[in-house]
Structure formats: C-alpha cells, structure tokens
Symmetry: C2
Subunit: 193 residues, 2 copies
Amino acid sequence: MTKGTDTKLGILQIGLDMASRLGLEAVSIGELAKAAEMSKSGLFAHFQSKEKLQIELLEYAADLFSRNVVAPALKKKAGIDRIRALVDNWNRWTGQLAGGCIFVAASADFKDRPGKVRDALLIQQESWLDSLRRMAQSAIKVGDFRPDVDCDQFAFDLYSLLLGFHLYYKLLHNQETRRRQRTALDQLLKNYR
Amino acid sequence: MTKGTDTKLGILQIGLDMASRLGLEAVSIGELAKAAEMSKSGLFAHFQSKEKLQIELLEYAADLFSRNVVAPALKKKAGIDRIRALVDNWNRWTGQLAGGCIFVAASADFKDRPGKVRDALLIQQESWLDSLRRMAQSAIKVGDFRPDVDCDQFAFDLYSLLLGFHLYYKLLHNQETRRRQRTALDQLLKNYR
DNA sequence: GACAAACACGAACGGTCGTACTATTATTGA
DNA sequence: TCAATAATAGTACGACCGTTCGTGTTTGTC
C-alpha cells in the first residue's frame, strides 16, 4: 500500500516539473515514464487515463501550493506583513519549479480546453483569488488598508502583478524583475493604505 | 504568384486562431489542414517545417499586432490619451481571437523551449515592451507623467495589468474584468501623473 | 494553344501518442 | 511461510504526428 503511494508521489513530483516547463497537456506518458525511470505501462497503471493524471497533478500542486504558499503566510500577522509574506512565498514557489508556476502554465493550456482538468484548474484559481480577497479583508480589519477598499479589485491587482513578474522572470529572464515587483508592490500597498 | 500568397494568408489566419486557443505548439499540421480544407501535404508545402510555420505565424501575428494595436495608438495625441487608446486596441486584439492574445499563449508555450520560435517570440515581446516604454516617455514630454518616472517600470506595470485582464477575461470569464481593468488603469495613470 | 512554373494532392514513412490487455515480479498481512 | 494482492513490465493496438516523394492539376506567359 505504501510502496505504490511513494512511487506515485515521485511520479507526480517529476510530472509537476515537466508540466511547469512544457505545459500540462504536453506531459506525455512516455516521456514522464522515461523521466521517472519506469515503464510506460507501469506508470500508466497508477492513473487510469491521461486526464486523471493531469487532474492528480493539479491536485498535488494545489496541495503543495496551499502548504508552502498560503498557509505560512496565514501564520504571519494579518495585514501588510501577511501580504508581503504571501508574495515572497509565491516567488519561492515559482522559483522552485523549473518552468515556474504550474497554474500559470495550465491556465494558458486549458483556457479553451473544456473538461474535468479545466474544471479542477478553475476551482483552484478561484480558491487562490479567494485567499487574496481574505487577506485584503483582514488588512482592513487591522487598519493596514482603508475600510472602503474593494477586496476583489485587490485580488485582481495583486494577481496581475504576479503574472507580470512571472513573464519577466521566466520568459524574458529580465534581471530587474525582482526590483520591478518590489516597486509595484510598494505602490500597490500604498494605494490601498 | 498571388494564388499561393492568398492561400498562405488564409492558412495563417486560421492558424492564428487555433494557436490562440490551443497554443502555438499544439497546432498540428493535420488539424490545421483540416480547418483550412486542404490536404496535409499541400499545406505543408507552403512552409518547410513545423518550426517555420510557427515562426511565420508569429511574424504574421506581429504584423497584425503592429498595424491594429500599436500604430493606431501612435496616431493619437501623445500621453494619457495614447496610452488609453493602446489599452483599448489591445483589448480589441485580445477579443478578436477566440483564445485571446497569441503572444500570451506562445509565451507560456515557449518559455522553456529553446529555438528559433522562442527567439522570434522574445524579439516581439521586447519590441512590445519598447513601445510601452516610448509611450511613457512621450507622456513625460507632454506633461501627463512626472518627469522622473521610470519608463521601464511603467512598461512592467502596464503589461502586468494586461496579463491580469487576459486571465480574468479568457480563463475565468469574470464578468467584472473590464471594470477591474479600468479601475486599475485609472489608478496606474494617477500614480504616474 | 503550348509550355514551364507554381500549386495541390494521396500515399507512405518511421515515430510517438494514449490505452488495453496479459504476464511477471514485489510486497503485504495472516 | 504462503497465499493474496499490489505494482510493474511487456507487447500490441489504432490514431495521429511531422515529413518525404511522386504525380497530377492549375496558372500565367509567349
């Protein structure tokens, strides 16, 4: 029982890396098996279809994301500190995987591919935006944000910033990316203050 | 001479639409031929490889982008008007293609696929960011922006905003996307004023 | 209307895709 | 320790991939 789970987790970790680089749809069973050093059919048996593999990859990533990005930020003091921690964690998350954030990659891949994979992705993204919204709400509560700020707008603004960071960092390899992000984040927080 | 060019342009237009939806790498010769209602080999003869097809698609898109997004904005009065026009044009560009901006799709697809396609994409993206930079510069000149604004930072900020818009609009199908974008753009312009 | 050039087609190649089956080997619990 | 079960490998499949080749059809020019 435990052996199989171990193998599966190993597969998912390698698959996560591949998906972040090439996109979720471009992860083929054969290539993944080669990378995991096992047979195609042996790997396939762990999932029952490519679609389920993709969904499990997203779920595995969502779990990691929740534990490494969102949860640690929630341990910080509510407000600006927490938001800054979240951004730091997101940067680390993005830096860990060779191709960057897998959800960004999957978003491009599945925005026009209806199905269960897209559904799972949408749920994760909505949950992520909800986290952002909550952080704005708690920032209001502790007085870091004005009481009249639009929390949905904050989620949009912050996620946009992270997407810009992602493109500058992962596609353009722009040296100033971190500085650009810091400047933009400072300004963003000031606007909401 | 003209027949071949016509056919090719037709192929590129259909390919552009497919690439915007599924990604540049996922456009297969066979599927594209089916959509263009011609034989696989007949279509293939117009390009000499899939790589060249992808590059020609990017060049075709870059030409359209330049003519429909950047150039019309440059006819507007320099400064805020021009920037707002650019954003409007970009929205229209993004709305025209079923899958949204092809460069956003291609960015995700080719960020970790070295080669001539990636090179062509990078050139286009740098040129795009340069256009944004210039618009900030001219906005300074006419007094719409403070004289000390960082034009590179403006390019980062504005492109981030557009990327956020793209995700909200094309993946999440968020109803408030346009309003979010307008609010963010107003704030951005105010910050640079 | 003849002729060369440009264009399009069908068939076929070796590969890889996702998936289905069967057989074999490891691991587990009693 | 041994049967039960889980995990992996092997092989084969039809479909599609990008690409090549030879042949036919259209086109523009004299």
